[in-house]
Symmetry: C2
Subunit: 482 residues, 2 copies
């Protein structure tokens, strides 16, 4: 029904296949690497096809945080107690609304084992906590608070524990992670065809049995005896899809992903009847901190009002600003707390009085003053009963005041998409009626993962790698077609 | 690929058809009536199939407002200037983000002609304006402000003009409207099969050629020589679809629609490769007014902060409260402005001081006081530079104060879905690659209409009826299959 660009081909239309394998993995990023490895471990012949000239995907250029908990050796060495139950409570609250409970529970339960799996693949962690950042530390610290676990409301829902795990390296942590993951896939014997773009799925009597790809202009039809795993990324680089499903993300200024995140994997699956989920959702990093001392300031919107506890995960601030406030907000801080941030972002305005700052920024007259007066009144007692910033970060702010311009023209809003195919925990792609599509599996940002909307750094690499493993194993165990 | 429930049937699987027509219309609501009428006028044989025992759909139980402008006789008689350009400017601003510009332009351009079309079908309008309500007047007034046209920011974008048109009746305006529309379809010679539920589309070589339906347990296969028009409503009654696409709407307490708004029309089309759009979007009526004097109060959220100009369309207030504030807000007003509202909703709290009211409601200490102080400071001069409520409605609010509880447990949040199939202005259903699916057309809440997210009362009946006409005419003009 769908036109030439994306319509699935019946096997009869393909003629002969150029290659045959058991499990075909589309995309050699984090999810694809792990799927390929797991499929090999389960005894299947595996071919990975990748558009780029080598492995990596969005993961290779990411901060490389993997969200892991339940009491990992790194957590314990840093003095944090955690448990599967505790992690589950946090995730159910943080990944909503309407989180995929089955995935959340499976994710928390598998987390300790997944930590071991990663270290066995060569990912090393320094058992030190960096308290400043929510992303990559300046040093080689292996643990960060990456999801506002120690901030309201999560600190009241679960015992706060940091769960952002970073491989030991001073930079390019995502790249290092991908070297380990891709190395594991190749070491396990997965074959790879790079520079190979998958254009369509091939079906036979309602089952996905292969793909039609192209490589340097040459057609390449690949048969998959057991299944196809789509791990082809999200759709942040497809403006048409953003316009239809997540128009707010068009306000983003710094797309997180590669150009291959064009939604092709999602739409190819939809063309064979797959169901999608959470297509409006996106993570939106607004990387104001480190340093954390900046959260002693207040963040106000264009009405001069606060809207969130400033000590929460900056992705939550970014989402709230982008989805609800047209990517318009300002961080106001006094001299005692002021410092340029890690990106070299500095105060755009410094004024002797609140009123002057309002005028400079262009806030409604009296609005910032009212907000600050209320904030300071409670800050005198170290409390914030309006937005619940933690006591240690709450103190009265006194003029002179500076303000960072966090509007989209001045600060980066770095989004990627969270919506995609609905899959089971095992990685089966569901059709519109909720039944698995035979022969089709998926993982990573081609799917809707543990996060329905709320996010923590590391949950994308976390569910890509874990559910990538599950999807690869499930595909490998599927019945073989001749 | 999709399982038995919804997978399209190949014509060979159907065997014989029980009925044959030129244009088959699925759903006898506003869109279906108009599609059927237009298809008949274009010379096609038409059969309408409807799940219920008679016509009506969601339209029959609606307020019956149709959004029309550009200088209708009713607008002119009430003293309002309007033009196609002016209406277009309003709609482009009000229907975003990323409104469907082609549809908006077509809608505004066709509006005057559509007014005539409706009156020619027997819909009569009293040329009197009701200023109190944004919905159904208590009397038979034919015109209301139904989209915040006279409120910021729209009053600065276009010359304010009311465009909500209501048929002359004291109650059940939607029902009266549907009598006219269904009567027109029947009068034009459309045949009807009621109590008939469409289960699947039937396809032949990539073209939609009919449906498989059931009637009192009996299978009914209907062939459509020229096309099938899906006008089967939205998905507000399908909790699974809400969970996947618009989880916030699960907070709604008063679903607007009928049980037939189960998304079946949307998913049947997706099963043949159709593309969807804006699936997260929903209109959310929060019917606080009439009377309009209540907008002299302020609406605050759970943080004691205002978030919108109170004089805007109550659907905008409802959307902002449901999507961004967990359906938690309060209307605070003084004695001079107080009155129970049209639903008999009364103040839940009345206090001598602001501080006491904060305690009673459970707002953060000092938050309402700070908000009121700032509001009153500007209200002294009749202005509202924070949220731009119009001058005539801004005056200082003095204790004693009362507050209406507008949380979802106390006030109705009445949502319906705005997302659906992407269609052309002509009513063609687009596939995942953006090409029309041969033989398939759609209109009404089965489609994504003029509103991407922002809404005005009457735009749903407006685009259902207008684009219903277009879709019916396009289907009737399509090539005939044997």
């Amino acid at each position: 029904m769908v036109d030439g660009g994306i319509r699935p081909l019946e096997v009869a239309e393909v003629g002969s296949f150029d290659l045959t394998t058991d499990v075909l993995v589309v995309g050699f990023g984090a999810a694809g690497s792990c799927a390929a490895h797991a499929a090999r471990e389960a005894g299947a012949e595996v071919l990975i096809v990748e558009r780029a000239s080598g492995p990596g995907g969005a993961a290779a250029s990411s901060e490389g945080i993997v969200y892991l908990g339940g009491g990992t050796p790194v957590q314990r060495a840093c003095g944090f107690e955690d448990s599967v139950d505790n992690m589950t409570r946090y995730l159910l609250a943080a990944c909503g609304p309407e989180p995929d409970e089955a995935k959340v529970v499976a994710y928390a339960e598998a987390s300790l084992g997944h930590f071991d799996w990663l270290t066995e693949r060569g990912v090393e962690y320094d058992a030190r906590l960096d308290v400043e950042t929510q992303m990559a530390p300046a040093g080689t610290e292996g643990l960060v608070w990456s999801g506002g676990e120690d901030a309201w409301p999560f600190n009241e829902i679960a015992v706060p524990a940091p769960r952002g795990h970073l491989a030991r390296t001073k930079r390019s942590t995502g790249w290092l992670l991908m070297q380990c993951l891709a190395g594991a896939a190749l070491g396990a014997g997965a074959a790879v065809s790079t520079d190979t773009r998958v254009d369509r799925l091939v079906v036979d009597d309602g089952r996905v049995v292969g793909v039609l790809a192209s490589r340097f202009g040459e057609r390449l039809a690949v048969k998959a005896r057991r299944g196809v795993v789509l791990s082809a990324g999200g759709f942040i680089w497809n403006d048409g899809m953003l316009r239809r499903h997540a128009p707010q993300l068009l306000l983003g200024t710094w797309k997180v992903g590669t150009e291959a995140d064009d939604g092709r994997g999602i739409e190819m699956a939809q063309a064979v009847g797959a169901r999608v989920k959470n297509m409006h959702a996106g993570e939106v990093a607004l990387p104001v901190i480190p340093p954390r001392q900046l959260i002693e300031g207040i963040i106000v919107d264009g009405s001069g009002q606060r809207f969130i506890n400033e000590d929460t995960y900056m992705g939550r601030v970014g989402q709230a600003a982008l989805y609800g406030r047209d990517a318009t907000c300002f961080l106001v801080i006094d001299e005692a707390g002021y410092t340029p941030n890690w990106m070299g972002l500095e105060a755009s305005w410094v004024c002797e009085t609140v009123g002057a700052l309002e005028v400079e920024i262009g806030l409604p007259p009296g609005s910032l003053e009212a907000t600050l007066d209320l904030y300071n009144r409670h800050a005198e007692t170290g409390s914030d009963p309006v937005f619940y910033k933690r006591p240690g970060r709450v103190r009265p702010l006194r003029a002179p005041l500076g303000a960072f311009d966090l509007r989209r023209g001045s600060a980066p809003y770095a989004p990627f998409t969270l919506g995609g195919l609905e899959t089971t925990v095992a990685g089966e792609v569901l059709d519109l009626a909720g039944a698995p599509i035979p022969g089709l599996f998926a993982a990573g940002r081609t799917t809707a993962g543990v996060c329905s909307f709320g996010y923590a750094s590391g949950l994308s690499l976390g569910d890509s790698t874990l559910f990538g493993r599950f999807a690869g194993a499930t595909a490998a165990r599927s019945a073989t077609v001749i």
